[in-house]
Symmetry: C2
């Protein structure tokens, strides 16, 4: 593997952060402990002030510590959350060899319908909590875009992409160390539409598409709706998709596309290593399989730098990259995009028959926001908040759920994947929880084969509150009740 492009200073602050995190995990630095001041830590460890500042900021981003005004930095995890680092991770499902038609929509349409009900504690669908997002600034840019573009509202445009938006996306990619040509970027109505466009461009009904297992249930609904068949390749909660199982699937079946989330996977939260991304790109290129990657969560990484898309690491093959600002900036504006190299012209045609175009003024408003420079600051804030909420959720699950519960270790995003003891039925738990006004996403929804019977995905984008904590306690109680009183066979 080539060496990482890191300066010695970068290595140093990351090393300091890791060392401190180790002490937090071991209990040497207990929750609520005040960390040494920046100046003192600099003296103690013999490093520069800047290095300590960066290390503390990194730990803050990871949700390990928090700054309190006029007081300093404190270890922020609850006792249970600190233990979460030691909880076993959920297990991988066994491989299942035959492609299969998808039929899960009735289950998931219930979960999605629940997301529209404000009376429920929203631990089901993955809806970011809007109050963290820069509404007023977006509104100003959008209003300005409406006034400035003298033709954007009233001129008909087919598969239109605002040059300003494409330029911003290309610029961000460059800063993240890879290349995205403005000419290959097509604006879409959110990421879901981008994925539809990709699938409809590279497949026909009846074709076989590989997905991760577990995978985002809306992927399965889209595949079902398009009459596509799936092969589910097991994914490890930390390491991600199994290369061996992927290779076997590509050898045995006429696969057209591999649809995956390489960064902050949904529901597992795992991020693939660069090496693994490279291997996946090679394998798919060898078999002539198009990679469709969903980058919607990549900006919500908890690591030091934004993980790269597979396209950044590939040397050949067709890779369609889809992204969106719906989870990170403007959930209500539906600004997504798709980029597909030599498939671009075909993607543009499919784009025009899916919904012709997305509104130019919306694209321009978001592009102006991006150009104004506030996005990275905003991302830093929500990453820290989501990492903290995931930690709190992990702690609460460990505290309230039955013995033997297993937890994912999200590297980004805002989902926690929970494996409960085998005696707990997640669909029954979902129904019981709904009766208690709590929405959850049951494991079987994340597979076309109704796997993950005892698993659960919890949305941690909701602000932590006594109401949420109480909901988690209720879920734990309901799960325990199932173990005490199993349902009749």
């Amino acid at each position: 593997m080539p060496p990482l492009p890191a300066t010695s200073e970068a290595t140093l602050y990351a090393a300091l952060a890791d060392w401190l995190q180790g002490r937090i995990a071991s209990g040497a630095l207990a929750p609520e402990t005040r960390l040494p001041s920046i100046r003192r830590m600099s003296k103690q460890r013999g490093v520069s002030i800047a290095t300590v500042v960066q290390a503390y900021r990194l730990l803050e981003d990871r949700g390990q510590i928090e700054a309190r005004p006029q007081s300093g930095y404190y270890v922020r995890t609850s006792a249970a959350a600190a233990r979460a680092g030691n909880a076993p991770v959920p297990r991988m499902p066994p491989a299942a060899p035959q492609p299969r038609e998808v039929e899960i929509s009735s289950l998931m349409s219930r979960v999605m319908a629940e997301a529209r009900d404000p009376s429920l504690v929203p631990l089901g669908a993955g809806c970011p909590s809007g109050e963290l997002y820069p509404h007023d600034k977006l509104a100003r840019f959008l209003a300005a875009a409406a006034r400035q573009d003298s033709i954007g509202l009233t001129h008909y445009r087919i598969a239109y992409t605002a040059p300003e938006l494409a330029a911003q996306l290309a610029r961000r990619a460059l800063l993240d160390g890879y290349s995205l040509e403005p000419s290959e970027i097509i604006a879409t109505n959110g990421c879901i539409e981008a994925l539809q466009i990709a699938l409809r461009t590279v497949t026909r009904p009846g074709d076989v598409v590989v997905v991760e297992s577990p995978t985002y249930f809306t992927f399965l609904e889209i595949l079902e709706s398009l009459g596509l068949r799936t092969i589910e390749v097991p994914a490890h909660p930390v390491d991600g998709v199994s290369l061996e199982a992927l290779e076997m699937a590509l050898e045995q079946h006429p696969v057209k596309a591999f649809l995956l989330v390489a960064n902050a996977q949904n529901p597992l939260g795992c991020t693939l290593t660069d090496e693994k991304k490279r291997r996946i790109a090679e394998l798919c290129a060898d078999f002539g399989v198009v990679i469709i990657e969903d980058e919607i969560n990549a900006d919500l990484h908890f690591g030091e730098s934004r993980p790269k898309p597979i396209r950044a690491l590939a040397v050949g093959g067709d890779i369609v990259t889809c992204g969106s600002f719906s989870k990170t900036l403007a959930p209500g504006l539906r600004v997504g995009w798709i980029a597909g190299g030599r498939l671009t012209e075909k993607l543009r045609n499919t784009r025009s028959i899916c919904s012709m175009s997305s509104p130019a003024v919306i694209q321009q408003g978001v592009a102006a926001f991006l150009a104004s420079g506030g996005y990275d600051h905003h991302l830093r804030t929500i990453r820290r908040v989501y990492a903290g909420q995931l930690q709190r959720m992990s702690g609460a699950v460990l505290e309230h759920f039955p013995e033997g519960v297993r937890l994912s270790r999200p590297a980004g995003g805002f989902f926690l994947w929970v494996e409960m003891p085998a005696g707990v039925d997640a669909i029954r738990l979902h129904d019981d929880a709904l009766a208690a006004s709590i929405s959850t996403a049951p494991g079987p929804a994340f597979s076309a084969r109704a796997r993950f019977k005892s698993c659960l995905r919890l949305n941690c984008a909701v602000a932590w509150s006594p109401r949420v904590e109480h909901a988690v306690a209720t879920l734990g109680r309901l799960a325990r009740e199932q173990l005490q009183r199993p349902s009749p066979p």
Copy 2:
């Protein structure tokens, strides 16, 4: 047939307008003739001033006459356009009995790509000319919506429909004499997406869908992309779809849906009578076939009142109605909608997997425009302009095209359907025209069976100008050249 709900006054002014139009068509009232003043006409014909005003306004809407400030009303058609009323109409294609997979996308993707090229005279794709549309007012309402809705930009919403928009659509339907429940309306990204949602809700890949022949080529592209098979039922340029052929198709094939444009059909421009709509609804209900009707052009009618959707005349069966403001108000904002009675909840699910939602702020901006009351005034303007441009185009085609050309009689919209002599190949004409920087929509694109080989659809939403007139003359010359020098077999 039940009597029409018309007052005697309404009958009177329409009768007066028809009588005057007959005199214009016959040449008794020549182009550029000044009509009698309103007061004189009122005296001459023994009718009220109001009746004359209404009759003149109707003729103005139909593009027959125009008001000149401080001068009066003038017959506005050119000599050739006046003759257009007497040109034969294009012929119906013979019925073709077997369902067929669609494969036309390569041809139409070329036409759509041409629509993105501003150097071409845009007689191909159906893009309204934006300068007629109320940009500044829309911009103000949109900016206000962005400022006012404190959560619309940043809150995640699934299949969201702004209540203000649903209320406006329901109100307009009521004024037009039919019922649309706000609760059954789902906002979409334009009409194309609405139709996708309808098709994906009521069919599976491989199912059979009836379309009119000719039909809008994007319908065929969508059907192809979804793996659906089509039965094409012949449509007469004036009377519309053949009921006999429709009934035969429903008897002989397991049809799932009938996708049609009942009002201002694309490409023919015809509007079905209420009686025919009623019969279609009955037939489809009898056979359990879902009607998917595209109302996108209905507000662009040239008659006295807005024609009704089929849903207004049906007594049973499932009817999904799709509409949009993309042709009539805000081509760049992509505000469409779908309403499907008891299918609504299923449509909402499909809507969420197609692109999750459309931007709330855009829906709110358009709803505020509608509430402000400017829409009907704007519609009156563009209807008059489009009717006039269609007349001018008809006249120019008659003047420049080879002897024997046949023309449609659009009852609304902005498309003219032209049947050229059998020796002219429309695809060859399209290619020759492109070399002369003119985009056209060749007839074979309007059928999955490559019918309409010598037909052509001309977009008349483009402002009439010497450049457009010259383009029509060029098309005529190219068509004549084909007759003189047939291509090698």
